[in-house]
Symmetry: C2
Subunit: 688 residues, 2 copies
């Protein structure tokens, strides 16, 4: 392309040599893609993207998502060349303890990494989320700016491998990106037809470009293989395609970039061997000879090349300064917007927001916690504009739509039931839980927005890989998982969670919050939103739950929710047994305690909406709730007991469900499966 | 179509009336699709499919998968009309306790249900698996028959809803079905553009037919909406399309059937309200008026209609008898094949098969359990032809390819690395773990074949919804999950399982088997294959594990593996502490016990490869392994401790990993994260 020099060509070859050398160290890694994609990555990082190596958090930067996370060197070497903070020693310590260059890019660990990738397909979903976040952010801060003129306009680029294309999550996210008309998104498919099992023809024979056309994307092909006849890295063609992609603003862009993996490695190009293993000394030397490098040297970088590529530091500063002018101009005219922007950047909530939280009067019939959650969202919508979200086609069931709020939809995608605008705040993911999870992660990493997404608790399984990544990245996303037990009723065992609470509590860093009534639900939202350093799953009932009479009749206030576990209703005098319940089963513990009291047994009821929060409390508090001296304990939760053994101890009894559910009315199921006050009383007596 | 009578038309309308009535009972369910798809379902069940209501296990039957499982009435009403065993009372007890008509179709519960569906997208994957199973079965039993002439030739039909189409799992499975050229598969997409959030335009705007063309499918459109201008149920057009689909044998077929949900319900057709809620009395009456039924009656079936539709019973018997002739002719010429067929039908293994299992000599350096598993598969391949499987693009890493065995691939999909035939036995799923899971379920329900599928343990998350369904259906599928801990090393936290063992053990009915060495691995395979009533996950190491000296030096034989937990190496005299390990951590327990012995502490080492199997043993055996009197216990497993609390008790200590891993060499990680004999010794002393 214009302005491309011999030094650029040499820099690209330097990338190849460094990639080959770096993997020789740990003798494991993925050199092939880093070698053959060197020109594409270099073009993006040095010529195309607007970014500032000195400030990788600059809000106006273009974003890059390496969905093909195994090719981490594609990023690390550009970070080195561009001056983002990595040096040769970092490349030399690839994949070793405490290095800045782990085996897959890790968000928050290496400056410039926008999102943790590696589990395939996730990055495509993240990029879609980033593109959606950019539009929502623009809508909040600068909605009237002409396209491309706002300081909040930027591009999202992503590179996907064959594996990303095969994973269903990328299909889900890409279909939705078409519906959402995400013109700020460009996905480059490194179509090299090689994966770990070598030639992808054994498992992937589709016409992927046509598939993306079917999604409504703007599709271009850049064929460096010249239909298999000869290989030529036509960088201008790729640059032109990227420019065309930016020009198309009413659709996302897909570039089918046909490459040969590990090219020009003479012995291993185009083979699965180059994908996931070091090339070996001989092949590294042969590669260096092909590109005219000294085969006897490793990590050999011509100072002129580095000086040339580090020019990006100043260019980045200049671009940033230029942008700052437009930002300042915007800020001077938008004092409120600027205040909001700064608040969001710090992930702070609107001062006094919590006053908007509803409280619920005592009511024996009560309300489903999903309905209470819906009322909370409706109440918070006006005071927390950054809070947005939706459902995987279960909006009405998940109660995720705040009353009167507009949908986030292009003009031509609105329906009778859901109107809105491209800047709206109610998200419609379709029946795509997995993409929903990845999109939420993309939203959370790229802006200060707070996002939630709903489905039935059972289908948390469909999105689990993304939930794990949110936990690993410590992202403040909130899952609204309703229909949280056999209380779901007639839909039967496929839809009734049994093992899910335990399986989710198993994920390190995820808060699993299952409120017992409407007021705990409000406190759960409050506490979740006050955490900006972790994801949470809010576990809600389909069926009505009694709203306990707080601060009367021996019931504690609901603020104990924030501590994860608290004495909801104590016995008169020291307890002989502690009944620990969560969610819809707390009412059973309350009734059982009353029965036990009538029988002369002192039972304390502990509501334990969030085990994780409880264990964050100091020992004195925990001891005050669960005194070590009281060994008789009963857990009551409509799920497996596995996770409760530690809390109830050797003498404890669990009222639990150790098998799948069944199709019948909820009341019948609770009765048939032994979730009754009488069973809790029985367990308490056994435990004593 | 030819032969269609007024009674057929009335029968179709009877379906609609029954669907509307049935949902009025529980006041919840999904009437809309059952009403509008009535003609399609009736055509399939009464006119198109070859099946026998009196024998729903007939191997020669065509299979039908209702991927849109929420529309269970689509099945139940055909079962009623066709004489499969349901009567009007069953329809009246829809979605109630102990009925034959649960909220979603359940395999093994209602005769005629081929697979449990409801979690969307799964059925499409199941159908692809059934189509693959049919080909493999044919290859085993009748490979040389001309197309369409074998008693093992049958068709697989499936109906998918918008939700099935949106879920990524169906994209994965459909892409692979194109690669596999599954000509025996026809997928009907009920394209009604309505889901729970009403008009799907808010989330689904793709050209789905074009997408299936991109996958390489044979695609037809049957548009009953006449491009939105008028509605006409052109049953002949659908019948013709089904016939054309059968004619195309080198590709799967996709029929884009454009319908209006709940048609001709006058007030609710084409609305989300008709999807998942009862129509309400007024609308049910209005519907009956439109179709000329007595609106004052419910569950009203004209005896002439029932007599007409129950004619299927005799037609089915006739077809079965006709088929029996061809089967008998085949059997008379294929005595070995017939014996194998009967063995597979009973899910019995080849007599003496276990003699082929390898044993492994003691070796301190040892072998990775994944490698031992590969040797087992290679050894079993010749004696268990029904055992087949593959990997989600990690064949070499999962060691799932038995040496010298052919791939299951159409002629034009083979590669240099993987040759084979359409009848081969090594499966290549591509990087599609979720589809792999659903395909395995489809294979397991439709034939006596035993299938396994591999990926990294971390990515069990990607396939978890299918694993849950295998557990719910009690299907004998085997997951080969390798790289089972931080022992995976350099790839880092995205690829290192931490919570997965616990999360999988949480699923009711799934055996989680983590052998400690090569001989336990062989015994694990043996025990897994001897179970035909449940799935199992085989959890294998990347890194080498010492092969213990069995029956010498105090080590027990490996046959204890079959009991789930056993004393691997006992203390001299009654133990003071019990060290319980699994997999790669058992060696740490062994070394710790030696150290403790040197310190004068008597420590027993228990290897616990499968907690589920252990709890199936009688109490006396369990007590012999874990005497209640020995309270000092230590669990050693490179994952979270959550699941071990019950086994180690209040006095126990867990050597565990309560956070995510890191990118470094495995040895470094075990050391840094405290998995050393010294730490186990420390924990043992604490516990004592």
């Amino acid at each position: 392309p214009e302005g491309w020099t011999d030094l650029d060509t040499k820099a690209v070859d330097t990338v190849r040599a460094l990639a080959a050398d770096a993997v020789q160290g740990p003798q494991a890694g993925h050199p092939g893609t880093a070698i053959s994609l060197a020109p594409a990555a270099y073009l993006l990082f040095q010529k195309v993207m607007r970014h500032d190596p000195s400030d990788t958090n600059w809000v106006g930067r273009d974003r890059f998502v390496l969905s093909a996370g195994h090719s981490c060197l594609t990023l690390y070497i550009q970070f080195y060349l561009g001056g983002f903070g990595l040096e040769l020693d970092d490349l030399k310590s690839l994949r070793t303890w405490d290095s800045k260059t782990p085996g897959h890019p890790e968000y928050g660990h290496t400056a410039g990494v926008e999102v943790t990738t590696g589990p395939l397909g996730q990055g495509v979903g993240n990029a879609v989320g980033m593109a959606m976040a950019a539009r929502r952010q623009r809508g909040l801060l600068d909605p009237d700016a002409a396209p491309g003129t706002s300081p909040f306009d930027y591009q999202i680029y992503s590179i996907a491998s064959d594996g990303d294309i095969e994973e269903g999550i990328s299909s889900e996210a890409s279909s939705l990106a078409g519906t959402q008309r995400l013109g700020n998104l460009t996905l480059i498919y490194d179509n090299n037809k090689i994966s770990i099992e070598d030639d992808t023809n054994i498992a992937l024979s589709e016409d992927t470009a046509k598939r993306y056309e079917a999604y409504g994307w703007h599709v271009q092909t850049v064929d460096w293989t010249n239909d298999g006849k000869s290989y030529g890295e036509n960088i201008k063609a790729l640059n032109d395609a990227l420019a065309a992609a930016r020009e198309v603003t009413d659709r996302p862009s897909f570039i089918d970039l046909r490459t040969i993996i590990a090219w020009p490695s003479p012995g291993k190009q185009g083979t699965g061997a180059a994908h996931g293993s070091s090339l070996g000394d001989d092949e590294v030397k042969a590669l260096k000879e092909v590109i005219g490098f000294d085969a006897s040297k490793t990590f050999d970088v011509d100072p002129a090349v580095l000086e040339h590529t580090r020019g990006l530091v100043q260019r980045g500063k200049d671009a940033h300064a230029e942008w700052q002018k437009s930002f300042d101009a915007w800020a001077s005219k938008n004092a409120d917007g600027k205040a909001m922007f700064e608040r969001l950047t710090k992930r702070e909530l609107t001062p006094g927001w919590e006053k908007a939280l509803p409280t619920f009067d005592a009511d024996e019939k009560g309300v489903a916690s999903r309905a209470a959650s819906g009322k909370v969202l409706t109440a918070l919508a006006p005071v927390l504009p950054e809070l947005w979200g939706g459902s995987a086609d279960l909006a009405g069931s998940n109660n995720t739509t705040p009353d009167g709020q507009p949908s986030f939809l292009p003009e031509d995608r609105q329906s009778k039931k859901f109107s809105g605008s491209p800047y709206g705040r109610v998200l419609h993911f379709g029946i795509r839980e997995h993409a929903m999870g990845a999109i939420m992660n993309g939203i959370a990493v790229s802006t200060g927005l707070r996002v939630y997404g709903g489905t039935f608790l059972t289908f948390s399984d469909y999105m689990r890989p993304s939930v794990r990544l949110a936990s690993l990245m410590k992202l403040p996303v909130t899952y609204v998982w309703t229909h949280d037990s056999i209380g779901l009723g007639e839909d039967g065992p496929t839809h009734q969670p049994v093992e899910h609470l335990t399986a989710l509590r198993a994920i390190p860093g995820l808060d699993v919050v299952r409120p017992a009534d409407a007021n705990e639900t409000a406190w759960a939202w409050k506490t979740i939103l006050e955490h900006s350093d972790r994801p949470a799953g809010l576990i809600l009932s389909r069926q009505a739950l009694p709203t306990f009479p707080r601060d009367t009749d021996g019931f504690a206030a609901a603020d104990g929710t924030a501590k994860g576990g608290y004495v909801l209703k104590d016995s008169e005098g020291d307890p002989e047994v502690i009944l620990i319940g969560t969610g819809s089963e707390v009412q059973l513990a309350v009734k059982a305690a009353e029965q036990l009291a009538a029988d002369g047994v002192k039972a304390r009821v502990v509501s334990m909406p969030c085990v994780e929060w409880f264990f964050e409390q100091d020992e004195a508090y925990r001891e005050s709730v669960l005194p070590a001296g009281v060994k008789a304990r009963v857990s009551v939760e409509a799920g497996i007991a596995l996770g409760w053994r530690g809390l109830i101890g050797d003498a404890g009894r669990a009222v639990s469900l150790e098998h799948f559910g069944a199709s019948a009315a909820a009341g019948v199921l609770f009765e048939e499966f032994g979730f009754t006050p009488a069973k809790v009383v029985e367990a308490a007596n056994e435990s004593i």
